[in-house]
């Protein structure tokens, strides 16, 4: 296991990450209710899941940190332009957030507020580039200098279940190029397809060092032991909702 993977995973060998859906109200108790105790794994906080307003992921992350958790802050590109995304990162890091997970976000016309206008200023790979420049080069997207240092991990989604497998290495390579730290797959419903996808990206230099979390549709999902023991995956990601 090389440096990046060790750094991200610490001493843990198999990490469980749970997607937490923030409440659709302003009550932090609704967020904290029924959560497992801190330290068991990671909690990712959805960003307006289902294209429906919820407690902001930043505020939810703040509540989780106060209660001893180490949240993964999800950022969708649907609701935020590059100014806001960079602002969210600064604010979240100031609160103690160490993990970000970028996604395009479900299209608002598929949610209950279809009349809303979307943003889609930058896509997840462009967002990765900007967030990487903020921590490595200490610059904003317009090359303005950011005083001080910041360190955090950036994750993106992969989509093993659909699309042409021959093209997957190209997309994976783009993520590696901008120093993605971890990958979460869409919910896996066909593990043979997951294996085929993993084989497809195996030729991408550096792919072995990136922790990959196998997405599962819900907390009842199970990863076959052969896949778990294969050494190709860092853990599992239980989806709470498709966002």
């Amino acid at each position: 296991m090389d440096t990046n993977r060790r750094t991200f995973m610490g001493s843990r060998t198999w990490i469980e990450m749970f997607e937490v859906i923030p409440p659709r109200n302003a009550n932090p108790e609704a967020l904290l209710h029924d959560l497992p105790p801190p330290g068991f794994g990671l909690l990712s906080i959805s960003d307006n899941p289902g294209a429906m307003p919820a407690m902001s992921a930043s505020a939810a992350a703040c509540h989780l940190i106060r209660n001893g958790y180490d949240p993964v802050l999800m950022i969708n590109c649907r609701d935020r332009n590059r100014i806001d995304i960079q602002s969210v990162v600064l604010g979240a890091v100031s609160l103690g957030v160490r993990f970000f997970l970028i996604q395009p976000g479900i299209h608002q016309t598929l949610g209950p507020m279809r009349e809303a206008k979307n943003v889609y200023d930058i896509d997840p790979i462009q967002t990765l580039k900007i967030l990487n420049d903020m921590r490595r080069r200490r610059i904003f997207s317009n090359h303005t200098r950011i005083p001080g240092t910041m360190d955090y991990f950036i994750g993106l989604f992969e989509h093993p279940m659909n699309g042409d497998l021959d093209l997957k290495p190209f997309f994976f390579r783009k993520k590696l190029w901008h120093e993605v730290d971890f990958i979460v797959t869409d919910p896996i419903t066909d593990f043979d397809r997951l294996i085929a996808w993993r084989s497809a990206i195996a030729g991408v230099e550096g792919s072995e060092r990136i922790p990959i979390f196998i997405g599962l549709p819900d907390v009842h999902g199970v990863v076959p032991e052969t896949i778990r023991q294969s050494g190709h995956y860092a853990g599992v990601y239980y989806s709470g909702a498709k966002t």
Partner: protein, 222 residues
């Protein structure tokens, strides 16, 4: 081409209800070609309004005219004189055409008969598909001649979003193929292309409508 969709006849009847004499102006360019604002369509609208008004009190009159291009003031120069005989103008031009007429005639209201939709092209069975949002920063040279901004609902420029269905249809408009599938097919037809490997940088949206209302530089008089 600019593609428009006629407003529902119910909306048009409601919009025109306060007026007795209505001049209906079609457009002989884009909206004639996409069969929403040409002679046939404005005749149908006129007949529908007339029928609806049969049961309403008071006299009612419509007159139809086609302008070759409503967005050119020179081609609309006959309309102001005609408009003196009417209470309102119902335009079947695009928003640019309607506003050109509104600039020329300020004494009576301009009513939109069309919802202007997009810049597109015909694909099959006289179906039009959006091809451009006028971002002002064309990069189709980097994506096999495909505009990923207008043809992907999430403007994904570096990879597909993963939301397409098993038949590779877009999750937002299942009538359409995911544009990344189209992209992949083009790659297959052009061996050696490296466009799939390129990381497309964030777009400069200041060149689009996000940067303010755009205009071309004024040309000096000849």
């Amino acid at each position: 081409m600019i593609v428009g969709k006629p407003k529902s006849i119910e909306d048009i009847i409601e919009m025109t209800r306060p007026y007795r004499r209505i001049l209906i102006v079609g457009c002989g360019s884009c909206l004639t070609v996409c069969r929403t604002g040409g002679g046939r369509e404005i005749s149908i609208a006129a007949r529908a309004i007339s029928l609806a008004r049969l049961n309403m009190p008071g006299a009612f009159e419509t007159h139809e005219i086609i302008v070759q291009r409503q967005c050119e003031p020179e081609l609309c120069e006959d309309i102001p004189a005609m408009a003196r005989e009417f209470d309102a103008i119902l335009s079947f031009g695009c928003a640019a055409g309607m506003q050109t007429i509104a600039d020329l005639i300020r004494t009576i209201p301009i009513l939109p008969g069309i919802d202007t939709q997009f810049m597109g092209r015909i694909v099959d069975h006289r179906r039009y598909i959006e091809q451009c949002i006028g971002c002002g920063d064309c990069t189709i040279d980097q994506s096999e001649g495909i505009c990923l901004i207008s043809r992907c609902p999430k403007a994904q420029q570096n990879e597909p979003c993963g939301g397409s269905d098993p038949a590779d249809h877009c999750e937002v408009n299942p009538d359409l193929e995911c544009v990344w599938v189209t992209f992949a097919r083009r790659l297959g037809e052009r061996p050696g292309s490296v466009s799939i490997s390129k990381i497309i940088e964030p777009k400069d949206w200041s060149r689009s409508h996000a940067g303010g209302v755009r205009s071309t530089p004024a040309e000096p008089e000849p």
